[in-house]
């Protein structure tokens, strides 16, 4: 047959209109172009002008169209009519729903505001939801950081005034060696992929440290399949090697850190009359405040932090040969990494011809860079030694002189911001009145803990107590178990937003379901009222009494605010909005607008005018008109009289929409690096409103507040820990990073439970959300337990086999698959693929419900009993971070069951089930 080439329309109509907003398919907050045809979403792509993703978009983002049409979307407010957990509801009006909520909440506020526990999951509006909770007067507010990555955030802020992800990023354009610890695919996903792409283009080396070689580790030039929980030990060995070889940046340590700060006999800083830490000036030999002009701080002397650091880490216990076996990495390899870090940092140093002046008045004609950079997220964070491990990583970065320098790790405005510039936690309750200040913050000693006068915890989650003093993000994972136990007290209403606490967002999920449905001797629920807001038919919906249905991300207003979790880049300050690019076709409302309404009904301060009328019409009105501090509101762009600082501009949201949904301003050249110490940056930061006076500071290699807790444990001071916690505080609150073995001492990692069990989140899914998405679930619809070669062979596994996986807490029976690129003692699976029957509008025979499973069932919120009569929390003793990744198990081959175990009865779906076919084309 002859070639017959048809005439093809190569310039078809693409869309009637492109509306630019912010993605919410995960927490990354990329800019998106939503192509519309006749008001319907036709196609979603990345926004090229957006600072976060510069045009690219991940699998989740491109699949947003299947989220917006998902059959799992809730349709109307719901009132529970069957028993909790059954999923039996009736649809009610918004008036009735808001009336019920007000009737429950108003009496609590008048009598005992702490009886409301308000926790907001994967909330991107925390500066707003916390403001609401503060106005209500309850101390019981937090988002999901405590079960996510608070170790990373808190360790970073205490050490350097910023951490990874939202706080900072590698200098992708200049770094020459990049070292990645642990799973990081789930946060900041597009920027890291873009950065890796830039490194690969330039041939820069990537080192991956992760028991599992998937994703970013698959393209790492060198992969270290480390034993879980030993990253801190590896890092301290690198520090040991670098110190021993003198491959450290002495100038940086002297000028940019507290290495030269003088310690007194108690291990506290020597201070002047104004409380300023003291250093010795090398020029005069005199003792002077750390920020005195023109001084050159001296690292030497028996009383400096630096000497203490040397004494600590030159100890042979940190030598590569001493740690190799435990870490599962040959000593020679550790030495090679140290040599490579030193070579690149010092032999390939960068110089930029850019003069700058530091806070001590020293002027420099160049910016010197150490082009090695690091990144880490949940992988090293979700261990009970995670805070100290994250601290160790920052100390490694700092001794190399590689933070806030060209080629190193850089902060994103409004960071850097030291712990001392953040609020302290507040917990003082007065019935009928707002809380005495912001809930969450940074403690600087025992005096800042959230304790009542009788020493009992003020918060339901026991955040900021002796059990976990520095719990900067609260402990969402402890709320339900504490509320159920009435410890420290009983609550009346549990109010949750966007957190699947009866399933993948809790440890011990089956136990949590029991707690949510448990009744007292009168037959009443132990947790009397549960209000839940979600956009989708998640597993948690069935456990609530009242459902406030949220919109999808394309149907709502949001602000990604500098007051909250910013989207800035190291070169620029930026914030962004979401706006309704389509209108909801259901009787649903954006949760933040619902809170505005509830705030007015409850007459919360900040939500009503003097005459008692509602202050804001909805969240968009709040975004535009709320004033947090003089001249500062939720959005920094296009304020009256200029950007960043100025009065509310009634047309502000329109300006954002015209600009593609975001606002951005570049940092002046001389302020681009050395931000904590750079006069030009500090002045710019004040002008932009990040803080109201300049805040230069030095990095805290030695964290003095931790020493204060140790001192309290030794009996000093009036606020004293209970006796059973003294040893833990003495040992774990070390002001210089330490490593301790969480495998043996805490998780009963005896011979019986000798295998590590981990989860990773796939790049194409976001926690439980991906499964309702018709396209994404075809990519990750199953999650076998991956088994390394040695264990595979030892257990005689074959393709298609199943295994019983048992921890000290319980068992699951699951399908297995072989994987070679895996630590010999580690098994793992994808996180949150397993679903409960009836949830997410899936068929009851969906593989997610029949073969999918959660590791959560065998992870308890408490550690196994140790025989001391106490139950210790399965979390980091410093921050309370949930220690998901400390799990130890045993495995055995079993006959394939009909379904993955444990099985749970189906929930009744409030939305029915999805269609049996999709041919989604909105255009003609």
């Amino acid at each position: 047959m002859l070639q017959k080439q048809p005439v093809l329309e190569t310039s078809p109509h693409v869309s009637n209109e492109v509306r630019q907003t912010t993605c919410y398919m995960c927490a990354c907050r990329c800019g998106i172009n939503v192509h519309l045809k006749d008001g319907k979403v036709a196609y979603i792509e990345g926004n090229r002008d957006h600072p976060v993703n510069r045009g690219v978009l991940c699998a989740k983002g491109s699949a947003g169209i299947m989220q917006v049409n998902a059959p799992s979307r809730l349709r109307a407010p719901l009132k529970r009519v069957g028993p909790r957990g059954s999923g039996e509801f009736e649809e009610i009006t918004w008036d009735e729903a808001l009336g019920i909520a007000t009737d429950w909440l108003a009496p609590i506020r008048e009598a005992a505001p702490e009886k409301l526990a308000f926790f907001t999951g994967r909330d991107q509006s925390q500066s707003f939801t916390s403001f609401w909770a503060q106005g209500f007067g309850t101390p019981n507010y937090a988002a999901h950081g405590g079960f996510c990555s608070v170790n990373m955030a808190a360790a970073g802020i205490y050490t350097m005034g910023g951490a990874f992800w939202e706080f900072g990023q590698p200098d992708w354009e200049r770094t020459k060696l990049f070292m990645l610890f642990g799973v990081a695919e789930d946060h900041d996903s597009n920027p890291i992929k873009m950065g890796l792409g830039r490194l690969k283009e330039r041939g820069a080396k990537v080192i991956g440290v992760n028991p599992i070689r998937t994703g970013y580790n698959a393209i790492a030039d060198e992969w270290l399949g480390i034993t879980p929980g030993t990253d801190g030990l590896l890092i301290l060995a690198l520090i040991h090697e670098l110190l021993k070889a003198g491959k450290i940046d002495l100038d940086y340590l002297a000028h940019r850190t507290n290495a030269p700060v003088l310690l007194d006999d108690d291990g506290l800083f020597q201070r002047d009359g104004e409380g300023r830490p003291l250093v010795r000036d090398r020029t005069t030999g005199e003792t002077v405040p750390f920020d005195a002009q023109k001084i050159i701080p001296d690292l030497r002397g028996a009383d400096t932090v630096f000497t203490k650091l040397i004494e600590r880490y030159l100890d042979p216990q940190y030598a590569p040969d001493a740690v190799a076996k435990r870490c599962g990495i040959p000593a020679q390899k550790i030495k090679l990494i140290a040599a490579e870090l030193a070579r690149v940092a010092f032999d390939e140093a960068i110089e930029i011809d850019q003069p700058w002046t530091d806070f001590r008045g020293h002027s420099y004609d160049k910016m010197i860079g150490r082009p090695v950079s690091f990144h880490s997220m949940r992988g090293i964070s979700a261990h009970a030694n995670g805070f100290q491990t994250c601290r160790a990583l920052h100390v490694l970065q700092i001794i190399l002189g590689s933070v806030e320098v060209p080629g190193g790790f850089r902060f994103k405005p409004p960071y850097p911001k030291p712990a001392t510039a953040h609020p302290k936690p507040h917990c003082r309750v007065t019935p009928g009145q707002p809380l005495d200040g912001p809930h969450l913050g940074f403690v600087h000693g025992p005096e800042d803990l959230c304790l009542n006068d009788d020493g009992t915890p003020a918060r339901i989650d026991k955040a900021f107590t002796w059990e976990n003093p520095m719990s900067a993000h609260g402990l969402m994972h402890m709320v339900i178990s504490n509320a159920h136990a009435g410890d420290p007290y009983q609550i009346d209403t549990l109010f949750l937003y966007m957190a699947n606490m009866s399933w993948n967002s809790s440890m011990n999920s089956a136990g949590v379901m029991d707690m949510l449905t448990d009744t007292d001797e009168n037959g009443d629920y132990v947790i009397p009222h549960i209000i839940y807001s979600d956009a989708y038919s998640s597993e948690m919906v069935a456990y609530a009494d009242l459902i406030l249905p949220d919109t999808t991300y394309l149907e709502r207003h949001d602000c990604i605010s500098l007051l909250d979790r910013p989207i800035c880049e190291a070169d620029a300050v930026a914030d962004a909005i979401r706006w309704p690019v389509i209108e909801p076709d259901r009787n649903v409302r954006g949760f933040q607008s619902v809170l505005v309404d509830l705030g007015a009904r409850l007459k919360l301060p900040g939500f009503v005018n003097e005459d008692g009328s509602a202050k804001y019409k909805d969240y968009a009105d709040y975004m535009t008109h709320h004033i947090r501090r003089p001249g500062i509101g939720p959005l920094a762009g296009w304020r009256e009289g200029g950007d960043s600082r100025g009065d509310a501009n009634p047309n502000q949201i329109d300006r954002y929409i015209e600009n593609g949904g975001f606002w951005m301003e570049h940092i002046p050249d001389e302020a681009l690096y050395y931000k904590p110490w750079n006069k030009a940056y500090q002045d710019w930061a004040v002008a932009k409103g990040f803080y109201d006076s300049v805040q230069p500071y030095i990095f805290q290699l030695y964290v003095e507040p931790m020493r204060k807790f140790q001192r309290a444990a030794d009996g000093h001071g009036t606020r004293q820990p209970p006796d059973h916690l003294r040893d833990q505080i003495r040992q774990k609150m070390d002001p210089l990073p330490i490593w301790y073995d969480v495998n043996e001492e805490d998780q009963q990692g005896s011979d019986e439970f000798s295998i590590h069990a981990l989860t990773q989140r796939p790049m194409a899914m976001y926690h439980s959300w991906g499964t309702q998405n018709a396209w994404l679930r075809q990519i990750h619809g199953r999650n076998p337990m991956y088994i390394p070669t040695k264990l595979w062979e030892a257990n005689g596994f074959n393709t298609g086999d199943w295994a019983r996986v048992t921890s000290p807490h319980g068992s699951i029976t699951v399908p297995v698959a072989h994987m070679a690129a895996l630590n010999d003692h580690t098994i793992w699976t994808w996180n949150a693929i397993g679903k409960r029957k009836g949830a997410w509008a899936l068929d009851k025979d969906a593989p997610e419900a029949t073969q999918g499973f959660l590791l959560n069932h065998i992870i308890h919120e408490l550690l196994p009993p140790k025989g001391d009569g106490l139950r210790w929390s399965n979390s980091d003793p410093i921050t309370g971070q949930a220690a998901w990744f400390d799990l130890k198990v045993k495995i055995e081959k079993v006959d394939a069951p009909a379904e993955a175990q444990p099985e749970f009865p189906p929930q009744k779906s409030p939305v029915g089930q999805g269609p049996d076919k999709l041919t989604w084309k909105v255009g003609k």
Partner: protein
């Protein structure tokens, strides 16, 4: 049977960097999105919320483990779509002329109105790069986004395949492989780009850039320099510090 053109003016195609692909599936879904809304019948999904969801995709990412003789195992992410072969057996096998290779740019397409859904082309393709749409019964395949790359309704910078525009790690490149001066041709020359399964004789236009050598630190005889200690003990270290600071 359908004839191939004896010569095409251009050879438009993809260059896919296996050293850089992290396996994120961004390309898979952006392709699904664009091609569901655009060229021909939508890419349908059967049982999308059920026990066995299956849909039509023009581009999929497969992952393969490689266990070298020495050292640790590696994982290669391997995106696969139509390679727009010069000697495309899927075209010559087509009984109706629905499958064809364009003279001007070498893109292999299916004219859906002539496709009878016989499936011979999918059988003939050694790469498994074609998928029959279960709803419309027509053969679907990568179009190289022929409705984007020349589309005057798109800004010029967006006139590239959806998978290339969206790839976060820049592992996908689009261009004319007939032009030895094009960026993609230079990339292929520089990085030793390879044909997929050359023994099949299909002469694929798309090229793959192989992964760079990895895990060199696992080589036993590595000659990398290690660090020389300045001291073993804190006291010796402080002596070194004194001397060093004097020099600063």
């Amino acid at each position: 049977m359908t004839q191939l053109p004896t010569h095409t003016e251009k050879k438009l195609g993809l260059v896919i960097d296996l050293d850089t692909c992290v396996g994120c599936h961004a390309c898979v879904v952006s392709c699904k999105g664009w091609n569901t809304e655009n060229y021909g019948a939508p890419l349908s999904d059967q049982d999308p919320y059920g026990a066995d969801p299956t849909g039509t995709f023009l581009n999929r990412v497969h992952s393969y483990e490689v266990q070298p003789d020495q050292g640790v195992a590696q994982l290669i992410h391997f995106p696969k779509s139509c390679l727009h072969c010069d000697d495309a057996p899927c075209v010559t096998v087509c009984p109706t002329g629905a499958s064809y290779k364009r003279v001007e740019d070498g893109i292999v397409l299916v004219n859906e109105s002539d496709c009878i859904g016989c499936g011979l082309c999918a059988w003939a393709c050694p790469y498994g790069a074609r998928e029959m749409d279960a709803d419309q019964g027509v053969m679907k395949k990568c179009t190289l986004c022929v409705d984007r790359i020349y589309n005057e309704n798109l800004p010029e910078e967006d006139r590239q395949p959806a998978c290339v525009r969206t790839c976060p790690s820049n592992a996908r490149h689009f261009g004319d492989l007939a032009d030895s001066e094009s960026d993609v041709s230079k990339l292929v020359a520089e990085r030793g780009g390879i044909d997929l399964m050359p023994e099949q004789g299909t002469k694929p236009v798309n090229k793959y850039l192989p992964p760079r050598p990895k895990d060199t630190w696992d080589q036993i005889d590595i000659l990398a320099p290690l660090l020389d200690p300045v001291a073993e003990e804190p006291k010796g270290f402080l002596g070194w510090l004194d001397k060093t600071l004097e020099k600063l």
